[in-house]
Amino acid sequence: MGKKSPVPLLQNGLRADGRAPDQMREVNMAVGVVSNADGSAVVSYGLTTAVAAVYGPREAHPRHLALPDRGIMRVRYHMAPFSTKDERKSPTPSRREIEISKVLREALEPAVVLEQYPRSRIDVFIEILQADGSTRVASLTAASLALADAGIYMRDLVIGVSVGLVENTVVLDLNGLEDQYGEGDLPVGYMPNLKRFTLLQLDGAWTRDKFLEAIGLAVKGAEYVYQKARDALKNRYMSIAEEIYGR
């Protein structure tokens, strides 16, 4: 951050990859992509690709962590060794991945009706296959789709989008280049129906005005991605219905 980018990040109002400041990269989603899992989804924002698989509710292990009145969640965010442009990333969980696993768990828990699952555990495993910025927020969208696919009771979907600051302009959905050379990064998790933020992190240097502008843009971005997420879930179940009842 704060270093000179090899290419201009913003020129004539357009970003290095040709997008407008408030434009997402191409968003693709599919639900039910891991047949053994109780629920699963793959989400890509541009090149960034996250696969999430959900197992559970199942018996809580270790047993001393089980709760009599509600379920617990276990979340793992992990990057594949080949997912980055630089050298091979060690598969051993880094401090960064441990922190992200924690903030993602805390971003998903408010959406899951854990009171429905006493003494149980719900596992969410997220793997980044290809990383080009915004991996934690793509993970969040994938994880909530996988939870919904597993039939877990939820209050809302949690949609992840990132906003950032490049050349003092607020932009939506940072790619790897903008993440590395931009002036700020603000990953957001948002529940579009309940209008609540469940993931918020920030680095860089933001004025109060730019921060609030960015939060507003994040909400718009999340609403856009939410429609795609709904469609992805519908497609999954429409195709099952077609299989059973025919067209």
């Binding site: 617990i72 793992r76 969980p93 401090r95 924690k102 903030v103 768990r105 854990l114 603000l186 921060f211």
Partner: protein, 273 residues
């Protein structure tokens, strides 16, 4: 390594939680403070003579010691002309009945990384001045040790890290036939940009009331928690570490944290000079 809901380990009785909530609805807290009031803060530097820099912070009954050791190492490949900052945190088994012996858990890692993010890009430490000839760089190892946890570790640990860095003496670089190393007998103070000091302020949410500087007991009752780090008039780091917030709550929390910043900054004044 995965993150598991910790509720089974730490809990507060429903009665006590209700008491905290009920009292807060009248804008009082169990320890007699108002929602915007911060506990007494005490910052001392030079408390560990074996470290290159050190500080101790007491925030109410929360007690954190920070030690800085300076080493010589390789700069990060994406910043070959800059020094390196490594922040680690350990919540000692002394700190509370819930802390276990073992390597830092996810909360300790999060604590260290939130403090790190506040310091890294705000200009408080000029990392460009920490490059050393021969492709090497100074490495600032900042270790945060929590001795007693009575809540709000982030704000206290951040103050301790800032004060310890201010207190740090850089060993001179010595050249001999085996290469370059650090001469610990010849030291000069690490320069810090006092005006850019990054101050972390956490805001808790209990039953719709936003409050500063939560105690341990209040942390077990939180419906939301967010930390803002300010440097000059900018937000340089932010971390939501529990629950959820509406947009209106977020804005109120930001303004509350901004007002709370003065209290922590003034506790640092004597140390920063």
């Amino acid at each position: 390594m995965a993150s598991i809901s910790p509720y089974g380990k730490r809990f507060i009785s429903y009665l006590r939680r209700e008491q905290i909530k009920r009292l807060l609805s009248t804008r009082y807290r169990v320890d007699g403070r108002g929602p915007e009031q911060v506990r007494d803060v005490e910052v001392k530097v030079g408390v560990v003579k074996t470290a290159d820099g050190s500080a101790e912070v007491r925030l109410g009954r929360t007690h954190v010691v920070a030690g800085v050791k300076v080493g010589l190492g390789q700069p990060f490949p994406d910043a070959p002309d800059e020094g390196v900052l490594v922040v680690s945190a350990e919540v000692l088994p002394h700190a509370s009945p819930y802390t276990e012996v073992g390597p830092p858990d996810e909360s300790a890692i999060e604590l260290a990384r939130v403090v790190d993010r506040g310091i890294r890009h705000c200009g408080y430490v000029d990392f460009k001045k920490l490059a050393v000839e021969g492709g090497k760089a100074y490495v600032l190892w900042v270790d945060l040790y929590v001795i007693n946890d009575d809540g709000n570790l982030v704000d206290a640990a951040n103050l301790a890290a800032l004060a310890a860095l201010r207190n740090t003496q850089l060993p001179a670089v010595v050249k001999d036939e085996t290469g370059i190393k650090l001469g610990r007998n010849n030291k000069s103070p690490l320069q810090v940009e006092v005006a850019k000091v990054p101050v972390a302020v956490s805001v808790g949410k209990i039953g719709g009331v936003l409050l500063l500087d939560p105690t341990f007991e209040e942390e077990l009752s939180l419906d939301g928690r967010i930390t803002f780090t300010f440097s000059e008039d900018r937000i340089v780091a932010l971390q939501k570490s529990a629950g959820h917030f509406t947009q209106a709550e977020l804005e109120t929390a930001l303004d509350l944290a901004w007002r709370g910043k003065e209290r922590f900054a003034s506790a640092l004044k004597d140390v920063l000079g």
